[in-house]
């Protein structure tokens, strides 16, 4: 029996220095079922190793709310990796 789990589709947004480092503003991605926000970040760090330096300062959001790294992703989620905020 094939054991390949179906992927789930997500939208990933990039801001500030994360946007500049990756050159991405928004991307549709696919990740395996059961993956967490931390797993998704790791995938981007593999693709863009220069992100690793900022890992400790990033926080994640899921559907426009701050979320813990161990949060499981579900299909259709809107996810962002947010650098430290500096409004005001």
């Amino acid at each position: 029996m094939p054991s390949v789990s179906p992927g789930i589709r997500v939208k990933v947004l990039f801001f500030g220095r994360v946007r500049e480092l990756t050159g991405l503003r928004e991307e549709k991605g696919e990740i395996s079922e059961g993956a967490t926000l931390g797993d998704l970040l790791e995938r981007y760090i593999q693709r863009y190793p220069q992100l690793a330096e900022f890992r400790a300062s990033l926080v994640a959001s899921r559907n426009q709310e701050f979320a813990a790294w161990d949060t499981r992703i579900t299909g259709g989620d809107e996810i962002a990796f947010l650098p430290p905020v500096s409004g005001g």
């Binding site: 801001f15 931390g38 970040l41 926080v59 790294w69 949060t71 905020v85 005001g88």
Partner: protein, 155 residues
């Protein structure tokens, strides 16, 4: 949904902020005080002469977080109306980047609510500032939102 007054105003704008209009917006007959915060672009940062700033936001989340702050201050302080506006895009020296006006029957609540609002905005609203100097540009240091997870991503 957080509870804010229907007469409150929360906005992200790309043009000049008009502080007088926002003060008028929150002023009502039942009030006796308005406290405002005007945040504007300083001509230097850590001793370097600033040319201009560029602000960007995760706009829908930023607006939601601004409304959350509004709901929190309505709950904690005896205030009447809130106007909270942040500008995005390029801002020159002296231009207002954020303006908050809060009305209340009595001044103490308005002072406390305004201080709480700007402090919380700077910690929790997903807006980013890039500082442009004569010889380059950097993203401002910023603050890690405290609502953020304690758990670190797996390394």
């Amino acid at each position: 949904m957080p509870v804010t007054s229907e007469n409150d105003l929360y906005e992200l704008v790309r043009s000049t902020i008009d502080p007088a209009a926002l003060v008028r917006h929150v002023r009502a007959g039942q009030d006796g005080a308005i406290v405002t915060f005007d945040g504007f672009v300083r001509n230097e940062s850590h001793g370097r002469a600033t040319k201009y700033l560029e602000y960007e936001a995760y706009e829908p989340m930023a607006l939601a977080k601004m409304r959350e702050i509004g709901a929190q201050i309505h709950e904690r302080f005896a205030i009447h109306r809130v106007a909270m506006v942040h500008r995005l895009g390029r801002l020159d020296i002296g231009e207002t980047s954020v303006f908050i006006a809060i009305s209340a029957p009595h001044r103490a609540a308005a002072f406390e609510a305004c201080r709480f609002a700007i402090d919380t905005l700077k910690r929790t609203v997903p807006i980013w500032k890039k500082e442009h100097f004569q010889d380059g540009a950097i993203w401002a240091d910023g603050e890690i939102p405290p609502a953020a997870p304690k758990t670190k991503p797996a390394s």
